[in-house]
Amino acid sequence: MNAFGRTNPLWLLLCVLLFSSLAHAVEPDEKLADPALEARARALTAELRCVVCQNQSVDDSDAPLAKDIRVLVRERIMAGDTDEEVIDYIVARYGRFVLLNPPLSGDTVLLWFGPGILLVVGLALAYLYVRRLNRAPVAPQPLSPAEEDAVKRIIEDPRA
């Protein structure tokens, strides 16, 4: 572990070499017979992060751990859990880290409200900028003495 990373690069490389190059993960024997329940399981596992191949969802990963979670999710669904109960069950075991779609909490306030605030601030700044342009002094600046002289000369002798 170093100051920045939670991941040992070697471990990551191993993960890439071992798993990520293989095809899409769900194996036929894992699937639930009921298509509606299977669709729910797929949707749920797509929102869980594989803790081995960290840039893949559990639904995509070929790591054995991801397979375990896939099977676990399907077991919970068969046991009659709601989607929230399944997610809570997985989070209780593997921690918040597995959630690709983290809920609003103290440290995700910025994540969920930041972009909205940015948009409001951006639009407000744009509005203020254009309004300021439109309110900029429209009255012409008084002529400098040199310019007044020039105007006077032109009026007196238009050909000069």
Binding site: A3, F4, R6, E27, L110, L111, P115, L119, N134, A136
Partner: protein, 648 residues
Amino acid sequence: MIAEVGLFSLVLAFTLAVAQATVPLYGAAVGDGRLMAFARSSAIGQLLFVAFAFGSLTAAFVVSDFSVSLVAQHSHSAKPLMYKISGVWGNHEGSMLLWVLILAIFGGAVAAFARNLPDTLVARVLAVQGMIGAGFLAFILFTSNPFARLDPAPVNGNGLNPLLQDPGLATHPPFLYLGYVGFSMAFSFAVAALIEGRVDPAWARWVRPWTLAAWAFLTMGIMLGSLWAYYELGWGGWWFWDPVENASLMPWLAGTALLHSAIVVEKRDALKRWTILLAILTFTLSLIGTFLVRSGVISSVHSFASDPARGVFILGLLVATTGGALTLYAIRAPQMKLGNLFAFASRETSLILNNVFLVVTCGAIFIGTFLPLFVQISNGDQLSVGAPVYNFFFVPLAIVLMALMAIGPLLSWKRGNIAAALFRLKVAAVAALGVAAGTLLLQAGWAAIAFAVAAWLLVGSVWVIVERMNLSGGLGAAWARAAGLPRSAWGMVVAHAGVAVCAIGIASMSVWTAETVTLLKAGQAASVAGYEVRLLSVRDEQGPNYTAKVGRFAVSIGGAQIDEMIAEKRVYPNPGSETTEAALRVRPLDVLYVTLGQGHPDGVWTVRMYHHPLVVFIWGGAVIMVLGGLLSLSDRRLRVGAPRRAAA
């Protein structure tokens, strides 16, 4: 020997870069023409030295000189020549050398081609480029020497990760770097303008071709990476919101905003402070991209050569570059004039809105990418931000932006008429409603909005040209009128249409993808989206540097065979790993995608088949955007060069 000469050449390039960073600046300050002229010759000298070093490393890879440590680690004598060459940048040290080479190419291009620019501006631009070059050359020399020797030299090398042995990925990094590094030109022009204390329409015109070229390269680079992921990773995903993908998308969004705001500076002499800031931010985001990939700070499939010590060095470069530029900005920006007047309903305002939406999108991605890192450092907690979050923000922002994109070009400068613009878009509105109704019938749900907006943008963009052609006057005359339009107008229309095409592909992939995962024996079949796919046989085959299981499939519709497809599972012994070579049946309107999965006893195979309607539009749209950029780049006013700047 060649490695030592290459290293020596890099040292010379570094020394020259330090001189280039200082001498011309002094020359410009005191008005000494000879010292300023040194900028051009040193930029060309730097290009020659860096190119020589890069050539030396390439030569070491081509002849498989395993006494060079980098070659031994990343190459293998059995590798095809193309991948020996692409192996040069398939690793940390070599890719940094490529980065510096491209920087030197841009610097050399300014020195050779920028003839109409004032001497002081050229001197200052090249000096800033020299600073960036010196920083990155120092990074290479002190932390990432690509020429380090190995004693004793191994008999053979470790080979290149086979995932990277692919034409798409061989060309992806160079294009990406041409984009990233290309934005250094916008940065250098911005800093030079801050030093000179002068930003005007002429400046915007000088900087435009460089920004446009960098943008086109970056678009191409991102598109190649996405295409590669689609066919190589084996399940038809084309975008993963991976931190490193985000790292390339952020400068793209900021760079796109920059292209548009620079138009306001050029045409209307307004929005100058913002444009300068955006130029600085865009290159900063490019540096952050380099930092993300090279430090391995955030876990990613891309960090194949991550090292925190190097990360700290790049972070230092980042702080120095951006911090320096922003300090200069804080001192100089308040002196810049506010700019010319325009009304709320005007082309200028529409371009400002474009900037707001692009930058907010970029900001949302930035927060998502870096918040987990920030949370971990501050309270040690672990947080993941994945595709569901990014899609939640990206999709609505992109849809609003696309809806506005059709209107903006129809507003006139200074004071436009929104009602009139909307009235001119009536054909586009009809098209959008028609598409919405049609896709709702096909049960596209919410994606119907995306399809409708894409149709609105596509028809609305093309309509600008159709209107100007005035078809009532006969086809020949109309064509002549269309051909007479400036290339930049065509470029805009084509690029905007490309965005629409890309959006259609994305929306289609998100709702209409069909997939079947099943177990098949030779002779058995399964179906996906009306196609019947039969496994004919699975054979062993021997490739140049791999062995493969080769599955043959027959594709039929309604019992009549229409095609045969071949999918492979390859095993590469050096280094030992597997890849999936999916079978793709590519048609303009859909792709049938079949992969051979795990083998089971008794000749049973896991087979995955996908139907991806309109997926080609995603990359087709990106290529159309690039074409738009190139068209705009070929505009006469950029080739002829800007008129002489008015006297100060």
